[in-house]
């Protein structure tokens, strides 16, 4: 609560966010390069999936982060909806394009992996694939709502409602492989029975931390851009009103 009220003032946010934003972005890039590098060049072939297992270091963190991005937006939208916090809307709006890109990466790399493993690029009957595609459309819809409404206040309200309603899709994505018959394998990393060896775990966690840091950094940078744009618009409107 104290942090929330501290950042209620955009000036304070702007003063405190510059170096964390660039720091997280740089950290994210470095971790992703190292994680991808180890995954692509150093990790041995898997005994079942051979070379194809290397795709997991791109695909799996993208899927984790697309759900994390959306959960972050849900949290921010809830704060915006209940407490009308000035920066919560900006945070949710700023995270949406990044979440959409993670989802797109997850869908495309998953499609390639699926083709080499299942023999099909896409399966409409598969709940995991379809629920992730729906998440991608929710991200696009959320971005479109911000563009479509005539005032930022109305847009923020409508986007927050859409985001909160869309939250029902997150548990469906997560549990789809358990609730429904699916081509997609069940969770490997996020289980208590994780038998993955360090050769796979290290690049996976490096890449995942990199995606997470990049998400944090880019969201902060986008929030800064949004605040600067809003301030510039206010100054221009004030100038026009005075002329």
């Amino acid at each position: 609560m104290a942090v929330m009220s501290f950042f209620h003032n955009p000036h304070r946010f702007m003063a405190g966010s510059k170096w964390p934003a660039w720091g997280f972005t740089l950290l994210g890039v470095v971790l992703i390069v190292v994680g991808f590098g180890i995954g692509f060049f150093r990790t041995p072939e898997d005994f079942q999936q051979d070379e194809r297992a290397r795709m997991m270091f791109v695909h799996v963190p993208a899927m984790w982060l697309c759900m994390f991005s959306y959960a972050f937006m849900v949290g921010a939208s809830f704060i915006s909806f209940v407490w009308r916090h000035a920066l919560a809307d900006v945070a949710a709006k700023s995270a949406a394009p990044i979440g959409a890109v993670f989802t797109a990466i997850g869908l495309m790399t998953g499609s390639i992996w699926g083709y080499t493993t299942w023999g099909t690029w896409w399966e409409w009957g598969d709940a995991r694939l379809v629920s992730v595609l729906i998440l991608f459309f929710i991200f696009l819809g959320y971005i479109a709502v911000w563009q479509a409404m005539e005032t930022p206040q109305k847009a923020a309200r409508a986007a927050a409602i859409l985001c909160l309603v869309g939250a029902v899709n997150i548990p469906i994505i997560h549990f789809s492989v358990e609730w429904f018959a699916s081509l997609h394998q069940q969770s490997t990393f996020m289980t208590t029975d994780n038998k993955t060896t360090a050769e796979f775990k290290i690049p996976m966690y490096l890449a995942a931390l990199g995606y997470l840091a990049l998400f944090g950094g880019l969201t902060l940078l986008n929030m800064r851009a949004e605040i600067m744009k809003t301030r510039a618009d206010i100054l221009l409107q004030r100038r026009q009103a005075a002329d």
Binding site: F36, F40, R54, H59, P97, I105, I112, T116, G119, L236
Partner: protein
Amino acid sequence: MTPIDTNYDGYVIWAYAMGAAGLLGVLAWTVNRLANAKRKLDEAEREDAGGGGGP
């Protein structure tokens, strides 16, 4: 169904290329958006300071 080429190198490279392109794309888009917002704010502040803001 067409048999799948079991030399998977090309598919793996494609997956990494798509991942890298997506991440670099969103990074470049964010930096560009930030630069545009900064330019717009600088112009607005310059006009606001220089113009006097009223009759």
